[in-house]
């Protein structure tokens, strides 16, 4: 494979060597089914136990509050549908936001078809929900508040602790999709009054296809996957032992290096934002200037379309992402960019560069240089830019 510059860590990350090394023996040496009672299975049982402890520690939960899943989407679906199904006699109202991941939004839309009522909170220009509006939206029938910890596109970090307080005050269960936050931000489920929290290993240098749902002791939700007695009867299916081991190792590494990595990433991020702003006219930073994920750079480049930007970057093996409609094959650009109030044509021209711990200042310089050329080239081709030049 050719050398690439990978700046799409919000999409996925590579499995770190230390993580993969710990996983390997569980594929064909300690391969016992953790539900069995013999010698061979002790190894996998103990491995899961250790991973559970590591995950719990990372977010200040108890070990038996962690349930392993097949990833962020399953955790999100489980949290929402599990509460909805369990509490359907109590109420049918769920509050979420307009900028959630599709794993939340499409789940909520499905529930609407089943007779649930969903409130989708607006966000401000930075992507922040309003605590006032949240509190006003709560009614007797409200059974769940689900607000993401940090947004995957624009990186905005929501006021989770405050949301937790409001939820607790009104005795409503609070779920947060923390898929982008876990491994990148300090999380304390106790202090933040979080009842349910979703995470996914592949966003933090762990393997794809494994995640977890934190379920606070005392919170009862229906299973999403019924069957065997795994995960204390809450999530059936033979455990993905190597994956679980990988999640445990990855999360431990992430939090042992959190301070150092955060400082590095924020410096790199702000350097990149400034470089772009100083070299390319008509750009806009999306998301909050400071309350944002350490590695997230998201900008709109006026007069051009995002996919053509991505393709051009890819010619230099620079891997990034866009909220452009064209990358998803739909007509509308990212719902997140529309929710923060961008007009369609500007939203179409967005670029997300999500930095990771292996990125360097040199790479950033290279990318910004190429980006400058590319943006210029595409603008020269753009009839919108032509109009602007003509002063229309």
């Amino acid at each position: 494979m050719e050398k690439i510059i990978y700046m799409d860590h919000a999409a996925t990350t590579q499995v770190r060597k230390e993580v993969l090394d710990e996983m390997i023996p569980y594929f064909n040496e300690y391969y016992g089914n953790p539900s069995s009672i013999y010698y061979l299975s002790n190894f996998s049982k103990m491995a899961i136990d250790k991973a559970r402890e590591r995950v719990a520690k990372a977010i200040n939960a108890e070990k038996n509050e962690i349930y392993f899943t097949a990833g962020g989407s399953e955790s999100d679906n489980w949290a929402i549908k599990g509460v909805a199904s369990k509490l359907r006699d109590k109420g049918n109202h769920i509050i979420t936001s307009k900028i959630e991941h599709h794993a939340i939004l499409h789940t909520c839309e499905y529930l609407e078809k089943l007779g649930y009522e969903i409130t989708y909170l607006d966000v401000d220009e930075y992507g922040m929900i309003s605590l006032d509006e949240l509190e006003k939206a709560i009614k007797n029938e409200t059974i769940l508040i689900s607000i993401m910890f940090a947004n995957n596109e624009i990186g905005t970090i929501e006021p989770i602790k405050e949301i937790g307080e409001i939820a607790r005050k009104h005795n409503v269960i609070f779920h947060t999709d923390a898929v982008q936050a876990v491994g990148s931000l300090p999380i304390d489920v106790k202090d933040m009054n979080i009842d349910l929290l979703s995470m996914s290993a592949h966003k933090l240098y762990g393997p794809k296809g494994v995640g977890a749902l934190y379920i606070r002791k005392g919170i009862k939700i229906d299973p999403l996957i019924h069957g065997g007695a795994q995960e204390r009867n809450k999530r059936a299916g033979t455990e993905n032992v190597p994956g679980i081991v990988g999640l445990g190792k990855a999360i431990e590494l992430a939090y042992s290096e959190l301070e150092e990595n955060t400082a590095k990433l924020i410096e790199l991020r702000d350097y990149m934002i400034k470089s772009i702003q100083s070299r390319i006219p008509d750009v806009r930073l999306n998301g909050h200037p400071t309350k944002r994920l350490p590695g997230n750079v998201n900008m709109c480049f006026r007069y051009i379309e995002g996919e053509s930007l991505l393709l051009s970057l890819d010619m230099y093996k620079i891997e990034a992402s866009s909220g452009s409609a064209c990358t998803s094959g739909s007509l509308d650009p990212s719902h997140v960019l529309l929710a923060i109030g961008l007009p369609h044509e500007i939203a179409h021209g967005s670029l997300r560069l999500s930095l990771g711990i292996e990125n360097t200042k040199e790479e950033v310089d290279f990318v910004v240089e190429k980006l400058t050329t590319i943006v210029d080239r595409l603008r020269q081709m753009s009839p919108l830019y032509e109009k602007k030049q003509e002063g229309k």
């Binding site: 094959g329 081709m381 032509e386």
Partner: protein
């Protein structure tokens, strides 16, 4: 995802630019949907002697515009009228299904530029009709996907 031809026409688009005092100009698409194509024609004695384009859009939109200009350059008006979106897509060695509307846009841009020429000059072009330029139709192929 894209064929080599698409990537070539995207990275090295032919005939980018404007024509001053063009004989026909056609603009289709709209910025809301993320694609606009603008086509400029120079027509002499019923022959398209020069063509340029500007496009705001994804890779396949740019490649489709580029290919479309190549296909009609030096051709007669009637030949240009025969160019369908399929011909554009085929000339690019195919487009992903969700991107077929880009080739439709290119076809429409040509026709709209010819219509403009027809209006300006009074030259009748058989098969051309103002009513066909309805933005809503452009994404129909995509919607079928």
């Amino acid at each position: 995802m894209y064929s080599e031809k698409v990537m070539d026409h995207f990275m090295n688009p032919r005939n980018v630019g404007e024509i001053e005092n063009a004989d026909g100009i056609g603009e289709v698409g709209n910025p809301k949907c993320g694609d606009i194509m603008k086509m400029y024609l120079k027509i002499e004695d019923g022959i398209i002697t020069d063509v340029k384009f500007k496009t705001f859009g994804c890779g396949s939109a740019i490649a489709s515009s580029s290919m479309a200009t190549e296909l009609i350059k030096g051709k007669s008006i009637q030949e240009a009228m025969q160019i369908t979106n399929k011909a554009v897509a085929e000339a690019l060695d195919g487009l992903p299904p969700v991107k077929m509307h880009c080739s439709v846009l290119a076809e429409q841009a040509i026709r709209k530029a010819l219509l403009d020429y027809s209006k300006k000059t009074g030259v009748k072009i058989e098969g051309l009709d103002e009513t066909e330029f309805d933005d809503d139709d452009l994404h129909e192929i995509e919607a079928e996907e």
